[in-house]
């Protein structure tokens, strides 16, 4: 279905079925049939590699923000050698503006569990961990129950559906650290350590948890897998934007009338999402700016949005990224200086401190932004900020420094007048 048809879209990830979060209801509605199929239908699925190929063909681009083809990622796992192999499901969801995976935990946990089990079988994985951010206590409890129910029904454990495939599935959680959403930091945290990202290579597929082959996937990414298996890669890739296909959980927050999480095809025009889906701007205000996919994705001015759709190609043309599809909408009264200062504060607070350009850089970004916010900035500070961003980006172990640098660079560039106005006022006052 095309993105223009979004009004007729029938959700599949979180369907309109009452109590689908309960395992009996999930099974009654066809749940776990995809898992059964890959494990027992040898005519359709000759081996585990055929499952990887199908998912690769569907082109499920990672929904955690990086947008990498999930099936392709799975194919990087080395051949099984009889030792342990791991799947680490990333439910850390901490990027400001992002609040979608919690809806899967709450409303359809088994679609994620089934997807993870299929992924695990496809990669011949022996143990699955789902890592959930510690603040999501309510959802941690829901997942613990859902996984226990799946164990009790024989969907997890030994010889699933009478096959020779066995796997374990554990819930594990953090304790407050944005960085643990970075995949190698999550592995460190899972291993019981401070969440310092690891140097790559070696990539997790080679050396992940406890030095063993490991794949990390986002919750929503895995939740798409059962329908790809049931309906085929062609069905999935025909939904929404060709370059970034499938349904997406859009999270919309900020100054709109109806903020929330919406399951719709990829590639919806940003303006439709704001004005139709999310009920338009609050209090009849004018739209000023949009952050399309979490705080690290560069902000767009309202005049840059015409014709731009929510998929990686279109957003790249506009000079930003899809990220997590957690969209933050800002009205005409929004103070871009204050907004950017708050983002710099966030990244400074969340830098793990391992790499100097990030530890020091995020601190300087915040310090200078605070100076500007408080009316003590000079125009040359803006160029200093831009200079710092170039000294952070690409110079650290993980992408947190990039994530901190991009909003500074693009907010200043795209709202330069507003930033200069704040600076000039203070320069005058000082004289």
């Amino acid at each position: 279905m095309s993105s223009a048809d979004w009004k007729n879209y029938e959700p599949v990830l979180i369907p309109n079925v009452k109590d689908i979060h309960k395992i009996d209801v999930y099974i009654k509605n066809g749940g776990y049939s995809a898992l059964k199929s890959v494990l027992t239908d040898k005519k359709k699925w000759a081996d585990s590699k055929s499952v990887v190929d199908e998912v690769k063909a569907a082109n499920i681009r990672g929904r955690g923000g990086a947008g990498f083809n999930a099936g392709l990622k799975w194919s990087f796992m080395p051949p099984a050698d009889g030792g342990p192999r791991y799947l680490a499901c990333n439910g850390d969801e901490s990027e400001p503006g992002t609040f979608k995976d919690r809806k899967i935990f709450e409303y359809n946990p088994h679609v994620f569990i089934e997807g993870a089990l299929i992924a695990a079988y496809a990669m011949q994985i022996t143990t699955i961990y789902v890592y959930i951010r510690g603040e999501y206590l309510a959802y941690i409890k829901m997942m613990e129950k859902a996984i226990q129910d799946a164990y009790d029904k024989g969907m997890i454990g030994k010889n699933i559906f009478g096959s020779d495939y066995s796997v374990d599935f554990h819930v594990t959680y953090g304790a407050g650290a944005y960085i643990c959403g970075e995949e190698t930091s999550m592995l460190e945290s899972l291993e019981g350590k401070r969440g310092y990202p690891r140097v790559k290579p070696p990539f997790p597929a080679q050396k992940g948890l406890w030095g063993r082959p490991t794949t990390i996937n986002n919750i929503e990414t895995l939740a798409h897998v059962p329908s790809v298996i049931n309906r085929g890669a062609g069905w999935f890739s025909s939904i929404g934007a060709e370059n970034h296909p499938g349904p997406i959980l859009y999270g919309i927050s900020g100054h709109v009338n109806r903020p929330g999480v919406y399951e719709l095809p990829s590639g919806i025009p940003i303006l439709d999402l704001i004005h139709d889906v999310a009920g338009g701007m609050k209090n009849g205000k004018k739209l000023k700016a949009v952050i399309p996919g979490g705080s690290s994705t560069p902000v767009l001015r309202a005049d840059q949005l015409e014709g731009i759709t929510m998929d990686s190609e279109s957003l790249r043309t506009a000079g930003t990224m899809l990220g997590t599809a957690g969209m933050v909408v800002m009205d005409e009264d929004t103070d871009m200086v204050d907004m950017l200062w708050r983002i710099t504060h966030f990244y400074h607070h969340e830098s793990c401190g391992q790499c100097t350009p990030c530890r020091e850089g995020t601190g300087w970004l915040e310090k200078i932004m605070l100076k500007i916010k408080n009316g003590n900035g000079e125009v040359k500070d803006l160029d200093l900020l831009l200079d710092i961003t170039t000294q952070m980006e690409g110079r650290t172990i993980c992408a947190l420094a990039d994530a901190a640098a991009w909003p500074v660079r693009h907010t200043i560039t795209r709202f330069r007048d507003e930033f200069e106005a704040r600076c000039k006022k203070s320069a005058h006052a000082v004289v």
């Binding site: 609040f99 350590k193 966030f346």
Partner: protein, 176 residues
């Protein structure tokens, strides 16, 4: 003060250890068990965790201090974590924080004299569509805050009445 795990705690800890091929991964979950038992993980409690797991104290201390949800000192009975990050900032998170500072007579980071409330400003809690919001003692989220809703919450907590879990549906989802 001597801290000790109860028999149930130790049983729980054994269950946690069984999830992993090594002991070290139990560090975070066992710090949680400790915090749930004692209300905090002060250095003495960190030592207990290290001793129980047979891990170096320095390791446990390093982990406890890396993660914001572990209380490295005693807190009030109700810890109010007010989010002011991005969407919450845009939707009035700072107004809620300031209102709470005034109502409770403390600044962020402080605890009321009667030990009932600790007030914190925190980073994104993943409830951006329901801003502004706060979390109570690492547990329930209270969403779509207004001054009135905040006042009501404080009144409830003063009487030790705990608020319900707030379910927020997906707006377009029409359950059949």
């Amino acid at each position: 003060m001597e801290y000790e795990f109860t028999k149930e705690d130790l049983k729980e800890i054994e269950k946690i250890k069984a999830k992993y091929p090594e002991v070290m991964p139990a560090t975070l979950p066992v710090l949680w068990v400790a915090q749930n038992r004692f209300g905090h993980v002060e250095p003495e409690v960190q030592r207990l965790v290290a001793k129980t797991l047979g891990l170096p104290e320095a390791h446990v201390h390093g982990v406890a201090t890396f993660y914001t949800q572990y209380y490295k000192e005693k807190k009030g009975k109700y810890v109010l974590d007010v989010c002011t990050c991005l969407s919450c900032q845009l939707c009035g998170g700072y107004d809620i924080l300031e209102h709470l500072e005034k109502t409770l007579g403390i600044k962020k980071g402080e605890t009321t004299q009667d030990g009932k409330f600790t007030l914190n400003e925190v980073e994104c809690l993943g409830a951006c569509g329901y801003a502004p919001m706060l979390q109570i003692t690492n547990d329930k989220y209270i969403n779509n805050l207004t001054v009135e809703k905040t006042d009501k919450l404080i009144d409830m907590l003063k009487k030790d009445e705990e608020p319900e879990y707030e379910e927020i549906e997906m707006p377009l989802r029409k359950v059949k």
